[in-house]
């Protein structure tokens, strides 16, 4: 029965995607290549699911693959779980558009694993069972700690999941032209099939397959791009500095300051910090959430329950660090390679966030848009991106479902007295519920700005889960009161600050921008250079309070700027110009301009309609009150502080009595949950 169902789901996903393909980065005549590659990946993963389903009967097999995953396998699976489409396509894109600043993101993702390796992986393997709730319930009040742990797990996973579903849907549409709803449902059906039938075993192997594909694709691309320069780092960077497309991009980014710079200086500027990240405090805040949040992500934590011993958990982090770090070093070459070979203008033409940099680079190294090999490469990268989304989503659904079934249903509702069969049914049923919810949320959130949701997931994990885990594992005085208070305060602060941050939509700013597009801008007189202004106090850097002077960077002198025409006027001008042109290249360029202007006009008009009459954000604010995009700087210390303060204020007998056992067991692995024999 399982085989038929699995095969049916695969066929359904493939057929539905085939039927709805519209315009995308992959040209129509080469789409069959993408589908062939992706069909191959689906076939392979479905076979794995079928094989895994036959070995998945007990809860330990469903949640933890029977604790039979080896360290090396788990290392690859962690990489597959962690390297989302955002990091593969997004970071390569940021580097291709902003150079150095994009690469700074890469670093944090690897450093995060030091926390995982040193303080999380082995102890959690030694005392944990299936979920974050199990770890916290070891010495804290089981019901209270499982409740907050489950809520936190579901919150973090939902944020992450929504970002993946929406981002994935948009990405697949841009890449292959598949309708947004169809790709969200397609991703949902595939991921449900893996999780519900094959549990952790199938999910693990889907993640391994995806990680191998992703790493292979990246290595191949880098071999081609870097190989042109004989694998010389200065040679490659010299090509970046000397590239006119890169120089033009820097000139656009630095604005008026570019007038006094030589082309060589402009190119070199691409390799220096400050083109994208303007607010250092925000940058540090993001860094804190990244480095401390990873260790609190439930879907990463869950991976350590799949290996037989703490030594294997250690080995798996080492492998994961090798793979993840190696991958992020490659992003430097992918991003800069795309900048010189494809160019920021063409990358931006397809996607504003730069997500198409790596796929376009693949097309270029294969021989360009008109070559078979180029399109095969593009098709391959597109299929890998699809597989990436599915694999990450599967891990997230499994984490959320385990919190729902194991912590809430079995732990709290049934008081740990559920029969083995009942537990497995609860696990599968929860996976179906979470999966369907993920599809529904993905469809409901279409067109929403979800980029900040991943940051929020990391921030909540760092402010809520991590303090609770660390103090439970390492601090004798920690107890239920501290853990519950810390988790609630940490999570609420992180979420609350984001709600009043610049990440939200503020109608007045949107309306102003839309009017600028439609009505044009008046001429600007020449301005003199201005020195930097410091904020009046540190708090003023964080909050928009009364009487605050905001910090401003130094501004170079600017020359007089002519008035900019409104969209309608600009279109008339462009059309008049088009009529006079004869050169095919110029005509092509003006046509592109017209298309871009029309797109901007349509967006501005729809914004005007959507926000007409509104003056405040959904939180009732006219402009952001919290000035950082990332809440970690405040919410993480607050989460840690709350655990300490509330633990000291109240006493909890069980937490104290269980300390010796917990501490001995987390260090030695005595009585750790063993592997199930097959």
């Amino acid at each position: 029965m399982n085989l038929k169902l699995i095969g049916g789901a695969a066929a359904l996903a493939l057929v539905s995607t085939l039927a709805f393909a519209g315009a995308g980065a992959v040209a129509d005549e080469y789409k069959w290549m993408t589908f062939a590659v992706f069909g191959g990946i689906i076939a392979l993963t479905m076979y794995v699911t079928y094989w895994a389903a036959r070995q998945t009967h007990s809860t330990s097999e469903f949640y933890a693959a029977g604790r039979s995953v080896t360290g090396v396998q788990n290392g690859w699976a962690i990489a597959g779980d962690y390297l989302s489409a955002a990091s593969f396509l997004g970071i390569a894109g940021l580097i291709s558009l902003y150079g150095y600043d994009g690469f700074m993101y890469s670093v944090g993702f690897l450093v995060a694993y030091i926390t995982v390796l040193l303080v999380i992986a082995e102890p959690c393997r030694n005392i944990g069972k299936y979920t974050l709730g199990d770890i916290l319930a070891f010495r804290n009040n089981p019901k209270a700690s499982k409740t907050v742990a489950a809520i936190s797990t579901i919150t973090v996973s939902t944020f992450y999941l929504t970002a993946q579903m929406v981002g994935g849907g948009v990405l697949i549409k841009t890449l292959v032209g598949i309708d947004y709803h169809v790709s969200v449902i397609g991703v949902g059906i595939l991921m449900l099939t893996y999780v519900v039938f094959g549990g952790m075993k199938a999910t693990t192997w889907v993640q391994i397959i995806k990680a191998v594909l992703l790493v292979t694709a990246s290595i191949l691309l880098v071999l081609f791009t870097w190989g042109q320069y004989g694998f010389s780092l200065p040679g490659f960077l010299q090509a970046v500095v000397g590239d006119p497309k890169v120089q033009a991009q820097v000139a656009k980014l630095v604005g008026d300051a570019a007038t006094n710079m030589t082309p060589e200086e402009l190119g070199q500027r691409f390799l220096e910090p400050g083109l994208f990240l303007k607010n250092p405090i925000d940058q540090i805040s993001l860094g804190m959430a990244l480095v401390l949040g990873t260790a609190g992500l439930p879907h990463i934590l869950m991976r350590f329950f799949t290996v037989p011993t703490a030594q294997d958990a250690r080995k798996s982090v080492l492998w994961a660090m090798g793979i993840i770090g190696g991958f992020y070093v490659l992003t430097l070459f992918l991003g800069l390679g795309a900048a010189i070979n494809v160019g920021p203008v063409d990358i931006l033409a397809l996607d504003k966030g730069g997500n198409m940099a790596a796929p376009l680079l693949a097309q270029y190294v294969g021989g360009g848009a008109d070559s078979v090999l180029g399109n095969l490469f593009l098709a391959f990268v597109a299929a890998v991106a699809f597989a990436t989304i599915v694999a990450v989503v599967a891990g997230l659904v499994l984490a959320a479902a385990s919190a729902m079934a194991h912590d809430i249903y079995v732990g709290i509702i049934k008081g740990d007295r559920a029969s083995p069969q009942e537990q497995v049914i609860a696990a599968r049923l929860s996976s179906v519920i979470v999966g369907i919810l993920a599809i529904a949320v993905g469809i409901a959130a279409e067109g929403q700005n979800v980029a900040h949701l991943v940051g929020m997931a990391f921030a909540v994990a760092a402010s809520s889960n991590l303090p609770a885990i660390i103090f439970t594992l390492y601090w004798k005085r920690a107890n239920t009161y501290g853990v519950v208070a810390g988790m609630i305060v940490g999570a609420m602060t992180a979420i609350g600050l984001v709600m009043i941050s610049p990440n939200m939509t503020y109608p007045q700013a949107v309306l102003k921008e839309a009017r600028k597009v439609l009505e044009g801008e008046p001429a600007q007189p020449a301005k003199e250079a201005k020195p930097a202004v410091a904020a009046s106090s540190f708090m003023c850097e964080l909050f928009a309070m009364e009487g605050c002077v905001k910090s401003e960077p130094a501004k170079a002198a600017s020359i007089e700027k002519p008035a900019k025409p409104g969209a309608a006027e600009k279109l008339t001008l462009l059309n008049e110009k088009l009529a006079t042109l004869t050169d095919a290249k110029d005509i092509e360029k003006v046509k592109k301009d017209i298309a871009a202007t029309e797109k901007a006009k349509a967006k501005a008009e729809s914004d005007l309609r959507k926000f007409d009459g509104q003056t405040t954000s959904m939180m009732g604010l006219e402009k952001p009150f919290f000035l950082l995009k990332n809440p970690g700087l405040i919410s993480i210390p607050l989460g840690f502080l709350c655990v300490i303060v509330f633990s000291l204020m109240f006493r909890d007998k069980r937490a104290e009595e269980m300390w010796d056992e917990l501490y001995v067991r987390q260090n030695t692995g005595i009585h750790a949950e063993g592997a199930t024999a097959h």
Binding site: M104, L237, Q268, L271, P273, L277, G287
Partner: protein, 105 residues
Amino acid sequence: MAKTVMNWAAIDADPRFQTLHRKKTAFLWGLMLFSVIFYFLLPIGSAYFQELFKVKVWGPLNIGIVFALSQFIVAWAIAGIYARRANREFDAMAEAIIRDAHNIR
């Protein structure tokens, strides 16, 4: 398999366990502290020491890029140092305690 009853407090108080605990604590949190400080030098440096980051050392290769790449090397080195010590020393110490655990009363 039924799990034997252990006297956890006695094991915790055992000198061998105390040695393991002391060595591990100092080593782990030391490494952790170092890695966090080293990491935050990157965003701090790129924001407040831009002139230093711009200094070219090898063709167009500047200190900023070298420092960012060094973050990878240092992260791997920390992982390597930890793994070496854990594999050679901590595992053996824990093993000795595990073997003797049911005798510790």
